[in-house]
Symmetry: C2
């Protein structure tokens, strides 16, 4: 069997998935029903790491089809609803019943991704992602964030290509061409452009040089109000969606530094709508109405992931990853600091139990609590 | 076979799950891998509705266990990693491989819940939940929200019992007993209190009569700053969590009207952390620093679900559920309003195609786009 190496010219490695040997669980997401594993294929190599990710398949319509007429015995494609369904009753109480069922094997598919051999970078990507909250004061923005943005010089060529109709012209959903208050509405890459339930649009303003929220002031209120109203009208007309059911928000930090608003239906959990990252357009407008220089004076929270260079820059300014235990009771805090139990955490348990808990942290049993830890993948 | 009725004294209905006949899919959540179905059990009754919900099981550690020593053939409990694993390759490209795998049948369990007979209320609960965004101005708060809260008189007895140590005393994680700036920290009911990865605490203030965000003003800054710092210190000491990795926020509207802060690790997706519902404590403090009467002057967004009485009260004030298509071009808007295609939505497609799309909306194919529509369940 050939020794696999990370080289496009070499034949892809041939491993037997069933002979994977587990080293440890990297993440277990009980909401998504996915799990990432680190291990080896000892048949091929004792040392090369492999990452195996399982994610259960979502339901397709055909999985739950039933016969269309009484004469038809069962639907054409495999379905849960046939005599093969194994049912074990957990309880039946009045009108409520709880069961464990097992459908026929053709419906038990699991999507699996294997990375082999895996580097440390891959392992980090599929492990629990460390995130840190930064409280960005106006001073810290000027001193750290802004110079970083400027020096990294993210290219905005692709944005200007859209605004100038050089690219993606056919994807434009709506345009207001006014250079001061206008914008272009087009589908986000996360949306297939067809299923309105999952609608996800971006509104990219025509005006240049508004990098993010931070640059907004009272003089931009006309732009923002137009962005809000004209987007709602266009979406209502084209997709029949009630404007009161749309979520419109900015990310901070954004993924690119040319002001754009995210739009999706409020009944959906779109990615990245967390309160530490997303700012409702309504609230932004209202903040500027209350204080025209709100965003030049506000402390804005934002999240940095482990591996982001900006995190290192903030770490040089103030401790982010490692912070001392703070306390009004300095003596007690001092004592805790020298107590290994306290600094390692779990100060109320014995060392062995701590070790146990740490292992449990890495591999939570889904029945115990709903683990929704994210990997950086 | 007895006719099942919704009555505790009657024997629970005995249906054969495999003989379910589908009427329609109520929701299909491709993130959670769950699906809710409406149909009947024609063997028992042609008319009584049944709701069947399937949700694939999350992974347990034992599902992915592998032999601990080379001599051991396979792990004790059923696991993916044995010769029964069916693997079909989708592609292998260099170090990346994509497969569909099917484990042995004992690992294909699916949690199923059946409600039979189901009422219209049940059907609504398991259907796509309609949510509406309200922009609550200070006037609307005074005129609609506040009178509603006052008249509904949600009892806060259980909160006072906690604060007075009459109940749940053993669950208290930390207490600062100061009547003006103090609070009690205890586990939220969503947390098992053991797995620190999923930590979820509530900080309930001692001071009475601050119902929500709306009541906060500059005089509460000491309280809020103490809530922030003392919680972080307590959590750092007791659980060893880095204060920079904690998300602290208020819900608006809250589930009960005595001010409390939610605390969980920022790397987790806790329920309800959406930007339309959650307000970061850091931002609240900063808003009050910038404008002591910020929350008496701000327009605050919040979400109302179909079925909430407050939604009806707002609907009486302004159209929420049904809004006319707005447009700067009044004539065009007028025309669209009388055009059934426009009012039904999808104004750019033929009626039959519309019908198709509507069906697709109700039953999105997971392969097309990641549907994350929530039911009210």
């Amino acid at each position: 069997m050939p020794e696999p190496v990370e080289n496009a010219e070499v034949k892809s490695p041939s491993y037997d998935l069933s002979k994977f040997r587990l080293k440890r669980i990297l993440t277990n997401n009980s909401v998504r029903k996915s799990i990432s594993l680190l291990g080896t294929f000892p048949d091929i190599s004792e040392t090369d790491d492999a990452i195996v990710v399982f994610e259960k398949n979502a339901y397709r319509e055909s999985d739950v089809a039933t016969p269309e007429s009484p004469s038809e015995e069962s639907p054409k494609k495999p379905s849960y609803f046939n005599a093969n369904l194994k049912v074990s009753t957990e309880f039946v109480n009045n009108i409520y019943g709880s069961f464990q069922v097992v459908p026929s094997r053709d419906l038990c598919g699991v999507k699996s991704t294997v990375i082999y051999p895996a580097t440390d970078k891959h392992i980090e990507k599929y492990s629990v992602c460390q995130k840190y909250l930064i409280r960005e004061t106006p001073d810290l923005y000027q001193k750290i964030t802004l110079p970083y943005l400027t020096s990294s010089q993210f290219s905005l060529e692709w944005v200007y290509n859209i605004l100038e109709h050089k690219q993606e012209k056919e994807r434009i959903v709506f345009e207001d061409a006014d250079p001061e208050t206008g914008f272009i509405l087009l589908p986000d890459l996360k949306w297939d452009g067809r299923n309105v339930e999952n609608l996800y649009l971006l509104g990219i303003i025509h005006k240049h040089d508004i990098k993010s929220l931070r640059d907004l002031n009272g003089s931009h209120l006309d732009l923002l109000r137009n962005l809000r109203q004209a987007s709602k009208d266009a979406i209502s007309k084209r997709y029949g969606l009630n404007p009161n059911q749309l979520r419109m928000y900015f990310h901070y930090q954004p993924s690119f530094y040319h002001l754009h608003v995210h739009i999706n239906p409020v009944r959906n959990d779109a990615p990245g709508i967390w309160c530490e990252k997303s700012h409702m357009l309504d609230t932004v407008i209202n903040n500027l109405e209350l204080l025209p220089d709100y965003y030049q004076r506000a402390t804005l929270p934002f999240v940095l992931y482990e591996g982001n260079k900006l995190l290192d820059l903030y770490e040089q300014e103030q401790p982010i990853r490692k912070v001392a235990v703070l306390s009004d009771d300095k003596e007690q805090a001092e004592q805790e600091r020298t107590d290994p139990a306290a600094t390692e955490g779990f100060s109320d348990v014995e060392p062995e139990e701590r070790q146990c808990k740490r292992i449990k942290l890495a591999t939570p049993e889904p029945k115990e609590a709903e683990a929704t830890v994210q990997s950086c993948a």
